[in-house]
Symmetry: C2
Subunit: 336 residues, 2 copies
């Protein structure tokens, strides 16, 4: 089993109030680099930070790494536009950091990165891969792609993307996306059927890489599980708009499924997704490291939902997952 | 357990008759990129070749990967100056391809790559690492560094580096090194005690990265095993000239130990190395894939000797190693 993580950045994350994927805006740009290190080595190696939310909720990378300790899957990290150095080994596909989607052409490397990731996905020898992400601000850019594809209204009510914040700043995201559409000279749905261009104009480099990886894997007979929340559901939207009709699985956390601002079932219907949502029962953990998750922070990321599903499949108990998460958490160089 | 592989290139390999690390000179430049993919995925992913010697002897990467299947160690690949793309995930330390050592300044990135690799080695959280290499022409550049350090005569008789060819082209290597010293305005031993400069003027980027990694690991309490032959012994020479006095282990193959052109015991004495040489008994394999090794080709590389030592420690039999090597070999896209 291989988990492939696409890690990158978008300057859209610099817009205040969109993301909790970092203690503060200065730390946030290091989050994907640090997440890759935590999954690869168990702790940061080059990154100056351990990613935590402003309230101290630890990155889902800790959960994914803990499950990796217990289950033993391979991890391959793809550089999908990192802005800061990482000590994690990364595969290169030509992606660069994305610009703010309120610019006209924020992800010019999207088509090239999509193509290179697709070839890489085709060449991977695995029977099965799980695809995950780390990119602060990624739900806003996912909403942007949905808007360009005409899928923003895929859910009857509420938002079609979740949030790392307990209170999804839906209106702010919608406003950013509307500004982005205007900056790109696009009306809602103008790029229906042209998902590469939708990612280039309204998305981020991680969506380009994940979509290319997923398509390449499917084309070569590798089963794909989209391991994440609404960003990975947006990858499914991209694949459907690219004409891909094969079955797609989404493995996410119960925190995303329970997000009152998102109708995950409607997204699953819209993009023909089979959804598994795993509840790690962090509320039984009785430790501050779990409190943020229980309060609805973070929710998902770095393939956490996929890792939890793999733990379940391997017969690892929730208690053992929690214990290992705490061991990993305690070994991190966190400030007191 | 983590095996860290430094993979890179030197244009010294373009000199005819120095190396068997490729079917022909055009293929050779892809060897480190392909080796990294074989250890990472089991087969080439982006590389257009499976590395074989001119007679068809498969790369030692197949052996290391086979043992990895059986023993399950982590692998981290460091880009130590690749000249062709790889689909393997790699860590960046600022190394670029080395030039021919008959140029005055063939490895200007050596000091920077050494420093970055040292920091990376310091930060690795492991208790123990094995360090290996893939660089065609690497024994000639290792001899160059030995010469610059005044260690070329470390062995009483014969050469102080081995060869991927059955007949070590010792005289040719010595002539290249002598030309290199002249081009750099150096006499034998001029850079004794200045090993970074010795690597820059007479070595290759892989030696820079391995030496930095080894030093950084030792400094932070990570045990280091040099997993290779005379190139890794040269890393020990570099460390001794850098003032490092801690014990050092070398894990290599019996093929290097049996090389009549090398006195491995004398090298071990000269650089205070504790040597383990493992014989995988490929002569009992009765398959063409093993014939080259039995005839003295390849001998070592891509941490093969270290991997064999790990198999031995884990109680895996030689027969099981051979069987797995053949399974991996048969799955490779080799021409008929």
């Amino acid at each position: 089993m291989r988990v492939v993580l696409a890690v990158g950045t978008t300057r859209t994350a610099e817009i205040e109030g969109l993301s909790a994927a970092g203690a503060d805006p200065e730390a946030m740009v290091h989050t994907p680099s640090a997440d890759a290190e935590i999954v690869s080595y168990g702790e940061p190696v080059r990154s100056p930070v351990v990613p935590v939310s402003p309230t101290g909720c630890p990155t889902p990378a800790v959960v994914t790494r803990a499950v990796r300790d217990l289950v033993g899957f391979d991890v391959t990290v793809v550089d999908a536009g990192l802005a800061e150095p990482t000590g994690a080994p990364t595969v290169t596909v030509g992606a660069r950091s994305g610009d703010d989607i309120r610019e006209a052409d924020p992800v010019p490397t999207a088509p090239g990165a999509f193509a290179a990731a697709r070839e890489f996905g085709q060449a991977l020898p695995d029977d099965e891969v799980y695809l995950g992400e780390s990119i602060p601000g990624g739900t806003t850019t996912a909403l942007g792609v949905q808007a360009a594809l005409g899928e923003r209204s895929a859910t009857a009510d509420g938002a079609s993307v979740s949030s790392s914040l307990p209170e999804n700043p839906v209106e702010r995201k919608e406003a950013v996306v509307d500004e982005g559409l205007a900056a790109s000279g696009l009306a809602e749905g103008d790029l229906s059927g042209d998902p590469r261009e939708a990612i280039r104009r309204m998305g981020d480099p991680v969506l380009a890489v994940l979509s290319g990886l997923a398509l390449g894997c499917l084309e070569s007979g590798t089963a794909v599980t989209l391991a994440g929340g609404t960003q990975l559901a947006t990858v499914a939207a991209v694949l459907r708009h690219a004409g891909e009709e094969r079955p797609l699985d989404l493995a996410t956390t119960q925190y995303v499924a329970d997000d009152p601002s998102v109708d995950l079932g409607a997204l699953a219907d819209a993009f023909d997704l089979s959804v598994t949502a795993t509840d790690p029962a962090f509320d039984a953990g009785d430790h501050p490291a779990f409190d943020g998750y229980v309060a609805g922070e973070a929710k998902e990321g770095v393939a956490m939902g996929g890792a939890l599903a793999l733990a379940r499949t391997a017969g690892v108990s929730d208690a053992d997952v929690r214990e290992r998460v705490l061991e990993r958490y305690r070994s991190l160089p966190l400030d007191a």
